[in-house]
């Protein structure tokens, strides 16, 4: 696999092993030169908010991708507002909506849904 775009759709929060695995996969993909686009909704909208280890890790991934545009993190704005984390989103996380989810899906070579199930 060379230079592919992988979409990761996240719906679960910090306590989900699926989410942890998906983020580790994202790091490996970036290291191998692939592009990763994350869409986070439901409880996953809180992954890039606050000052815990996970938001710090997300910020670090965003930082790695800043020069060559290889890592995007789009978060569902409605989920952000429902969780009350809007003021705490890490810089680089882009508020969006489900139209962005489908744009991410449309432009990806591979789409992975971590965990599945309703994000609400």
């Amino acid at each position: 696999m060379t230079g592919r775009t992988v979409a990761l759709l996240l719906a679960s929060g910090v306590t989900s092993e699926h989410t942890a695995t998906a983020l580790k996969l994202a790091e490996r993909l970036l290291a191998r030169g692939h592009r990763v686009a994350v869409f986070a909704h439901g409880d996953a909208a809180g992954l890039a908010a606050g000052t815990g280890e996970l938001p710090t890790a997300v910020t670090a991934l965003l930082r790695r991708g800043v020069h060559d545009g290889t890592f995007d993190w789009v978060v569902d704005q409605a989920s952000v507002e429902r969780l009350g984390v809007a003021p705490h989103l890490t810089p680089g996380a882009v508020p969006g909506d489900h139209a962005d989810l489908w744009a991410v899906v449309r432009h990806a070579d591979i789409v992975l849904t971590a965990g599945g199930g309703s994000p609400w």
Binding site: A7, H98, W102, A103, V105, A108, I110, T113, G116, S118
Partner: protein
């Protein structure tokens, strides 16, 4: 580039909302050039019951919104999005095809498996 997409909707949100969130999210697909099929399985098959609705109500002085998943599904179908209900779950809920919204196809596991094999992307809700 993802083109043929299958959305697997397993359950209902259980929250009182004017629209079922998973169905609403899938309507955005019409803005992109994707061939989307929504597959309802498990308790999500309930969303396809024709005439299924939550009447408006009130709780502690707060107005609770009405909801009609059947109407949401008709919107998806009219937008060209295919909707399938898994046959074994339709049966287990004591339903048959006549109970479902017109246009919702009832399909067995083998048919859905074939759909998933041919898909460029599968989303799970």
């Amino acid at each position: 580039m993802a083109r043929r997409v299958v959305s697997l909707v397993h359950g209902v949100s259980g929250a009182l909302r004017p629209t079922e969130p998973a169905l609403e999210a899938n309507t955005y697909a019409i803005a992109e050039d994707v061939d989307l099929t929504v597959v309802l399985h498990g308790s999500a098959v309930e969303l396809a019951v024709a005439g299924g609705q939550v009447r408006p109500g009130e709780l502690a002085g707060v107005v609770l919104p009405p909801a009609s998943s059947a109407q949401d599904l008709r919107g998806l179908l009219e937008s060209g999005i295919g909707v399938i209900a898994l046959a074994e779950d339709v049966t287990s809920l004591g339903l048959d095809a006549a109970d479902l919204v017109d246009g919702v196809e009832v399909a067995d596991t083998d048919t859905v498996a074939g759909l998933l094999r041919r898909a460029d992307a599968v989303l799970a809700w």
